[in-house]
Amino acid sequence: MHNYFPQTDADISTMLQRVGIGSMDELFAEIPESVRLRKDYDLPSSLSETEIREFFAALGDKNKPLTCFAGAGAYDHYAPAVIAQILLRSEFYTSYTPYQPEIGQGTLQYIFEFQSMISGMTGMECTNASMYDGATATAEAMFMAVAQAKKKNKVLISATVHPNVRAVVDTYALFKGIEVAEIAEKNGVTDKADMEAQLAIGDVTGVIVSTPNFYGILEDYSGYSEAIHACKALLIMHADPSALAVVKSPAEWGADIACGDGQPLGMPLNFGGPYVGYLSTTKDLVRKLPGRIVGATHDVDGKRAFVLTLQAREQHIRREKANSNICSNQSLMALYVTIYMALMGPEGLKKVNELSYSGAHYLLDELVATGAFTPAFDQPFLKEFAVRTTLDVQKLQSKLVEKGMLGGIALGSYKKGMEDCLLFCVTEKRSKAQIDQLITIIKEEML
């Protein structure tokens, strides 16, 4: 028997006897013979653990890990050693959704901490137990806006929101029958006049913007919430929770819903996932919030305890009347960012941003000093920025990859008219020496 199966031949005989049948085959006797699989799958034979290790080592050699100067939705921040080790406690990772709170207080407690911390970062009053990723969290925020409006069915989204987030919002909207209109961008930021003009047309129930935006720019959203609320619409702000340690929070901008991805909170890049989405809102809208929510309560002996609550909103109760079909969350990843935020604290997160800011602004200065780059926009930014270059974008990227570096993301595939642009990102993990090395390689390329 394979090492994952505890049954011996004698055990199987005992069990067959109790069931009153003579063979395993009889367990499947009711399946029409024409669809019975009477052969093995066309798949490889079983590998031993040593062979598995060799197999993946060889596959890993086909990857080329690169020193990361890219962001665009996935950020290479420092991951404290503590987190990966705690996440390997199997009391956490092998547990199910805490539907039995008496034996799930560990999970319920860290989700409560997650909700508290994300609410703190966004400044919002409530946060759910986490979402799949930042893009789907934004699509669910759009659903909330439509659900609260009853008859209105139109959402505006700024052109400066990450195109991947926009793509998911568009897909969800298309199939649900929600109209999505774009707010134009102007010099890298949302065109407020265009938003106001579109709000004036009417029927808008939500406006989606982001901070920092796709280009890394910190937009000034002064007056947005007033204009949007005057039209009885909601302000939805997609925000990098790491940046929120220093930049103005969604609550301070007057947002009704904050959403985004927790990946910048020290999570490994992991080729795109698993990450963790978050979704926060006001007390008034809590009953429109999808997904699991943990609340504090007491047990029969008066002991403080935590429990999944407000479940009347969810699909397993409301079925086709639910506002969302979401069932699970990204619980273990919520634990990841909760431990991260606990370790970093307010001061650590400030330092992360300060170091990232310093590195990014130094890199921009050095790029401009080469004479081959100019800032794409004259706007304030934190750790990520767009530049135009006179160099061949593709050749430059290849050269950097050859030297083990992931340079900026080419913006041409995302934005018309930006074929000569790159989006660079610097986190606290990038040393001055690494930045200098990047510049040296670029200078070589210019020769």
Partner: protein, 490 residues
């Protein structure tokens, strides 16, 4: 052991730090240069704690959790099978975990090969043409799958097909996914045996039907033997068949959804393919389709040309359902599992899981009411105790099991019965574990008659006992600051 119930915030003291960051070598670039109007003034409320306190806190709260490595989870429809340790080791390999999702395909060939090979392996197991691995969970896969169903009809100009048929025994996500996809739900009734009533289905099949969603075996653990007739009827009416893969485990090695006539399906990698549930996620819900639907799979789509792997966006794709390409770390674990078992052992999964379920059912049917008799697949449902005279409910039995060191079964689902207890043992529990569980279930059934009060007030030995869920919902306390401001009602 000492009872521990602190929150991390309760360890906070101004001046403590838990991080290790380098000195700023470029202090002349200070973010204070950012306009003040764009800077935050609100406190974050994050705790200030040292590293050892963080480690001890999370270790202590982990002790308040029950996991698969702690004990048996007879949780119906959740397929709580052993999570192999090698999967974790492989998923953590830096050669994969350090890859940026947007780095050039040439520098991520190993990762792309994992994505491609896993999708191909699932296609072989499902009997379908191709899989996307982008959806993040089962419900997310359902949504993507229904979008594909809708797109198929739209691309054919068949715009009136807006309804999806869902059995009344279906998981709640099925009708909810249809709603999110902008489709209307039509419920089809079950026969007294718990399978779809084909005669009730027939009149529903008109030109407004986009398709039907089914699980097979269904949520009662019963194989829908009339599946070929159902597939013939739905296809003849112009609809498609969606297979909810939540119950795929018993069919491993036995039969394939594609061969039964299903056009679209999702698989829960965190059920059938052994990836950890993680206390509620991350999961993964790959979606497979028949050949004529391949072009509609969500972006990005995986392609292989010669020996080279890459992602592309398809022009007829439904669009994107994920920021990048899904929960890659979960895919690494599932692929490791498939390679570890290999074709020889994969076929035993279905047999052993099914045998274990039937063994438990036959051993307990005198003590618990078994509404649907005969051979089940991976799971079965009791309708409460055989003797209900003492008023002991399914909830009480579930809670009493916690005292004996078991997770509870799935309870009050399916809603076909009032006292549903849904049990699924999986293939990774030993006969000894199963026998001990059976003995405890019998003991509780007897205790329900001899000492019902003890069962009704269970659990007694868990870190906390039954909770006041009513107050939690009536007066939600969802953050630490709300807890601090909460004044108990006198």
């Amino acid at each position: 052991m000492k009872q521990y119930d602190k929150l991390i915030f309760e360890h906070s003291k101004k001046g403590r730090t838990g991080y290790s960051l380098p000195e700023n070598k470029l202090p002349e670039y200070s973010f204070k240069a950012i306009p003040v109007a764009l800077q935050r003034s609100l406190e974050t409320g994050l705790p200030e704690v040292s590293e050892p306190e963080v480690v001890r806190h999370y270790t202590n709260i982990s002790n308040r959790n029950f996991g698969l490595d702690t004990g048996f989870y007879p949780l119906g429809s959740c397929t709580m099978k052993y999570n192999p340790k090698i999967n974790e080791e492989i998923a953590a390999l830096p050669a994969f975990s350090s890859l940026h999702p947007l780095q050039p395909a040439e520098t991520a060939q190993g990762a792309l090969e994992v994505y491609y090979n896993l999708s191909q392996s699932l296609a072989e197991i499902a009997g379908l043409a191709a899989f996307t691995l982008n959806p993040f969970a089962g419900a997310h896969g359902e949504l993507a799958g229904l979008m594909i169903m809708k797109q198929y009809h739209m691309k054919r100009g068949d715009l009136k097909r807006t309804k999806v048929i869902v059995p009344n025994t279906a998981h709640g996500t099925n009708p909810a996914s249809a709603m999110v996809c902008g489709m209307d739900v039509v419920e089809v009734q079950s026969t007294p045996e718990g399978t779809i009533d084909v005669e009730a289905l027939k009149p529903l099949l008109d030109e407004t039907i986009a398709g039907i969603m089914m699980t097979n075996p269904n949520t009662l653990g019963i194989f829908e033997t009339e599946i070929l007739e159902i597939a013939g009827l739905v296809h003849a009416a112009g609809g498609l068949l969606y297979y909810d893969g939540a119950n795929l485990n018993p069919l491993l090695g036995q039969c394939r959804p594609g061969d039964m006539g299903f056009d679209i399906m999702h698989i829960n990698l965190h059920k059938t393919f052994s990836t950890p549930h993680g206390g509620g996620g991350p999961g993964s819900g790959p979606v497979g389709v028949a050949q004529r639907l391949v072009e509609y799979l969500p972006n990005p789509q995986i392609k292989k040309e010669g020996d080279r792997y890459f992602f592309v966006d398809g022009k007829d794709a439904i669009g994107s359902v994920s920021g990048f390409a899904g929960n890659f770390g979960v895919m690494m674990r599932a692929y490791t599992y498939i390679l570890s078992l290999g074709k020889e052992n994969l076929r035993q999964v279905g047999e052993l899981a099914t045998l274990s379920a039937n063994y438990i059912k036959e051993s307990l049917k005198e003590y618990y009411e078994l509404p649907i008799k005969g051979i089940c697949k991976h799971e079965f449902v009791f309708d409460g105790l055989a003797d209900k005279s003492t008023g002991v409910t399914t909830l009480d039995i579930a809670k009493r099991l916690l005292d004996h060191g078991y997770h509870a079964p799935t309870i009050y689902f399916p809603m076909l019965f009032h006292q549903s207890i849904m049990i699924e043992p999986t293939e990774t529990e030993s006969l000894e574990t199963i026998d001990e569980f059976i003995a405890v279930m019998k003991k509780i059934a007897i205790e329900a008659i001899e000492d019902p009060q003890t069962v009704k007030t269970a659990p007694h030995t868990t870190p906390v006992r039954r909770l006041d869920e009513t107050t939690a919902a009536r007066k939600p306390i969802l953050r630490y600051v709300d807890l601090l401001n909460d004044t108990p009602e006198s």
